[in-house]
Symmetry: C2
Subunit: 208 residues, 2 copies
């Protein structure tokens, strides 16, 4: 299969942005897990047609208007796996609140109650019978030139999110948990903002 990865610097091109319909798969790569310390390096998107856009973000970059427009478009659902982190990172980098969203990790927790393995690799293997490699997960995403292995990895993280969402939507419906999932997704951008505001480890709903 020909690699259908479009590489961008700084922002999605207008042309690429126009490809995006009502569901956008999104993932990000950063220098680490602390959004206040670790900068955003790469944003990956897929329209769900087997292709991906990979956007490199420069150090200190404060704007990505085409990207931001898609993130805040109320008519386009952004599909993430563990969106809490990516939404926080995007808010911190560009001041954009990403919504509406669907999170495949939350949907997995709400339906795959027979396992505690809700990582993207396990989920993709079970629902789609596809093995994705996580080898490049810990690599230098701030590198000026990304390696082919990095590009493949970055793309693989968004290429299957549409299919995962389809499978999870069916399961949520089957188990009568769609409304609860939707409420979780509605709250998710706030949960991400609270991470940035200083409650990253706190379950605000816990008794103590």
């Amino acid at each position: 299969m020909a690699r259908a990865i479009r590489l961008h610097k700084g922002d999605l091109s207008e042309e690429a942005a126009e490809r995006y319909g009502d569901r956008i798969a999104v993932d990000t790569e950063t220098l680490g897990l602390n959004p206040h310390r670790d900068r955003l390096c790469v944003v990956q998107l897929s329209p769900g047609d087997g292709t991906a856009d990979v956007v490199q973000i420069a150090k200190g970059q404060k704007k990505a208007p085409n990207l931001a427009r898609l993130m805040r478009d109320r008519k386009k659902t952004k599909i993430f796996h563990f969106g809490r982190f990516d939404i926080a990172v995007l808010e911190h980098a560009f001041g954009v609140t990403t919504q509406p969203v669907f999170c495949t990790k939350i949907a997995s927790k709400l339906t795959r109650t027979y396992t505690d393995r809700h990582g993207l690799k396990d989920l993709t293997r079970e629902l789609l019978d596809i093995d994705i490699s996580k080898q490049q997960q810990s690599s230098d995403w701030a590198a000026e030139t990304l390696t082919d292995a990095q590009l493949d990895y970055a793309a693989s993280d968004v290429l299957h999110l549409h299919a995962l969402m389809d499978g999870l939507v069916v399961r949520l419906e089957r188990e009568g948990r769609t409304k609860e999932a939707e409420a979780c997704f509605r709250f998710l951008p706030t949960r991400a903002r609270l991470d940035l505001m200083g409650w990253p480890e706190t379950d605000l709903f816990a008794h103590s």
Copy 2:
């Protein structure tokens, strides 16, 4: 001060229900902390005028229409302290989803960042300079006849919630956290339902 506690069996009277305006303080007493095992015994309400209604619920009782109508009234904000538990208990007992809500524990966590003491006693002491007794907290709330000490305790848990909400609303606004608090309150009834559905200990937003 004359004790202004109105005692009811099974449901609020129509007359008592009509006293309630746009903010209702609510608390519940149960036989323990597991809503599937421990039944609802008492529901306390206050309209915020220094009086309280205390409603005894019978074993096996499935309906309390006047109470339920207030709980689901979209125009009346139900003020709780740790509403997550009471909302779950009320949903389990009467099948009613309580909303909209305000939770003084969540508001406290979002504003009193200088302490980890977010219990009702500590909050009431700091914000209102009032000492409430927690002595009757662990007592037999299923008793046919509640003691005076129990009635006083039950009432004291709702009598100050309006004033606490007022103080916390000011602090949320002052710190620029009102929107985040509102999103938490909107999600709270779902968080409570998920407790009943089988995720009492899980933070669904956590990575694992």
